[in-house]
Amino acid sequence: MTRFPLRGLRARMIVAFALATMIGAGAASWAGAESASDALVESHQRQLTRTLAEQIAAIAPTLTYPPDQAVLDRLRAAVGPDTTVSFEDLRSSDGADRATAELRGAVRERDRIATQRITADGRPLLLIGAPVMTTAPDGSRTPSGIEVYAARDLGEVEARIDDLAATAIGTAALALPVAGVIALLAAGGVLRPVRELRDTAQRLADGDLDARTPPQGADELAQLTATVNEMAGSLQASMAAMRRMQSDARRFAADVSHELRTPLTTLTAVAEVLADAADRMEETDARESARLAVTEIHRMVRLAEDLMEVSRFDAGTVRPRLEEIDAAEAVRDTLRARGWLDRVELTGPDGIALRAERRRLDVIVANLVGNALRHGAPPVRVRVREAGPEVRIEVADAGPGLPDHVLPHVFDRFYKADDARARTPGSGLGLAIALENARLHGGGLTAGNGDDGGARFVLRLPKEAP
C-alpha cells in the first residue's frame, strides 16, 4: 500500500471530509440503484412469466390430449425458442433443456409456475417452469402432465442495471469536487486560529513573554487559547519573581562582602598582634588560649572569605580578569609562594601560553596541591601539558586514593569524606570554589584515581578562554 503524504492537519481534514461525502453519496446512490435494479429485474421477470403463461393458455385448448410428439412440438414452437415441452416420457424434439432439478421439483410439487435465475455461459438467464393444468367444469384443477420449461435472456435488463450503476457512480463522483471545496473552506476556518496559536507559542518560546492570542468564540480552540494565555501569564510572573530574587541575592552577597571586609581586616591585624604577644606570655594556660584564639581567627577569616567567594559565584557577579600567562610558570609560582617546591614534583614544558586570571589559577592549583599534601601521600606530582585546544594540569599523589562512595561528592560544598576528621583546617568549600573557577574559565575539573591507586585531579582550561 502506498503511503500518502498526508501529514498536514489541513490535508487530513480535507481527505476525511471528502471521503465521508463520497461514502455518503456512494451509499445513497448505491441504495437507489440497488432498489431500482431489484424492481427492474422483478418487473421484467413478471412480464416474461406472464407472456409465457398467456402463450400457453392461448394454444392449450387447441391441443390434442393426451398429446403426441407432434403436439408437443407445436406447443414448443408456439412459445418460442429455448423451450422444452415434456409429457411423461415424451419430449419436444429441439430446444436446449436448461431446467434445474430444483425447478422441476418445484413445478411438480406446487402445480404453479416456478421461476429461477441462473448464470449460464456468463449470461444471466431466467428459467420458467410451467405445468399445464386440466380444469374440471367446477373449477378444480389437476396437472395434465404437460410441462413447459423455458429459458429467457436477462442480458438486456443487466445492461440497463449497469447503466444505473454507472449513473450512480457518476453522481457520487460529481459530489467529490463540491466536497473538496467545502472541506477547503472548513479547514481554513478551523486552522486559522490554530496557526495564530502556534505563532504565539513560537514567540513565547523565543522569549517574548508578552505574546498573547485574543481568544475568539467559545469553542475548544478558544479554551485552548485562553489556557495558553494563562500559562504565558504565570510563566511571566514567575520569571519576574525569579529575576527579583536573583538580584536580591546578588545585592545581599555584595553587601555582606562589603560589610565583612573591614571587621575581617581588623580581626586579622589583631590576630597578628595577639600571636606576637602570646610568644611573650609567661603563663602557659594564657599562652595556649591566645594561640587557639589566633588559629580559630584565621580559620574564621578563611571561612568567611570562601563563603563570600561562593556567594559571589552564586550571584553570578564574578568576571575573570584574563591575561596571557605561562601555564608551567604560573604553577611553579604557586608552589614557590607556598614553599612546596621541594615537596612536589613538577613536570611540564615552559612556554604553554594560557589566557586565564592568574589569581584564580593560583587558588585552584593551591587547593589541589594542598589537598594532595594534606590527605594523600608523597610523592605528589603535578603535570602540565597541552592537549589540543586545552591545557591540562594534573595533580596526583601516591596515597590510598578516593573511595568510590566519595567520588561523586568531592565537589559538594561542606562535604566531609570522614566524619571523624570533621575538624580540618579547610573550610570544606575549597574544591567547590576550584570547580567554579575552572568553569568560569570555560574549563572543567574532574576527580578520579590514578593507575597506581592515588587520587588524581585533572584541571582542563581552554587556551583561549571565552
Binding site: 400457453i56 399445464v132 393444468m133 386440466t134 442495471i161
Partner: protein, 155 residues
C-alpha cells in the same frame, strides 16, 4: 486508503447486475388442455354432463356448436330446437360471457337454456376463466327478462 476505495467499489458493484436466485413462485399455472369439451344434455328430464371426445378442449363457441348440433346417436335428449345455422357468437367481458345464439326464445325450453348456460360456463372455466362468471343470452327474438345474467344450476 486504497483498500477503502476498493471496498467501496466492490460494495457498489456487488449490488448491481443480475444475480442467480433460488426458485420463486411465478403465479398460477396455465390451463386449457382436456380430452374434449363438456356438453350438457337432458337425461330423463335432468341435466347430464358428458364429455364429447374430440381430443381437445376447444373454445366456448366450438362447444356450443357441438351442443346445438344435438346429442348424436347417444342415449340422450336435447331441449333445443335443431337449427341449420349452429354458430354462436361469444363475447367475454370480465366476469360476463355474452352469447348470441341463432335461436328465438320460442325455440328453447328453460332446461334448454340451462344446457346452453352450463356448456358455455364449463368451457369458460376449463379454458381458465372464473368460476364466478355469469352468462347473458341474446336471442334472435327476445322476451322481457331474457337478457338477465344466468348461472348454471349444476355448477
Amino acid at each position: 486508503m486504497r483498500r477503502i476505495w476498493i471496498a467501496a467499489a466492490v460494495l457498489l458493484l456487488a449490488g448491481c447486475g443480475v444475480e442467480p436466485s433460488g426458485v420463486t413462485d411465478g403465479g398460477p399455472a396455465p390451463t386449457g388442455v382436456a380430452p374434449g369439451p363438456t356438453l350438457y344434455f337432458v337425461d330423463g328430464g335432468e341435466l347430464r354432463a358428458t364429455v364429447r371426445d374430440t381430443g381437445r378442449l376447444g373454445t366456448i363457441a366450438e362447444a356450443l356448436s357441438l351442443l346445438l348440433s344435438g346429442p348424436g346417436d347417444a342415449d340422450l335428449d336435447t331441449e333445443i330446437a335443431p337449427t341449420a345455422f349452429a354458430k354462436v357468437e361469444v363475447t367475454v367481458t370480465g366476469q360476463e360471457v355474452e352469447l348470441r345464439v341463432p335461436l328465438s326464445t320460442e325455440e328453447v325450453t328453460p332446461l334448454g337454456i340451462d344446457q346452453i348456460v352450463c356448456t358455455a360456463l364449463a368451457a369458460h372455466v376449463q379454458n381458465g376463466g372464473s368460476t364466478e362468471a355469469t352468462v347473458r343470452l341474446r336471442f334472435t327474438l327476445e322476451e322481457p327478462g331474457s337478457r338477465d345474467p344466468r348461472t348454471c344450476p349444476l355448477l
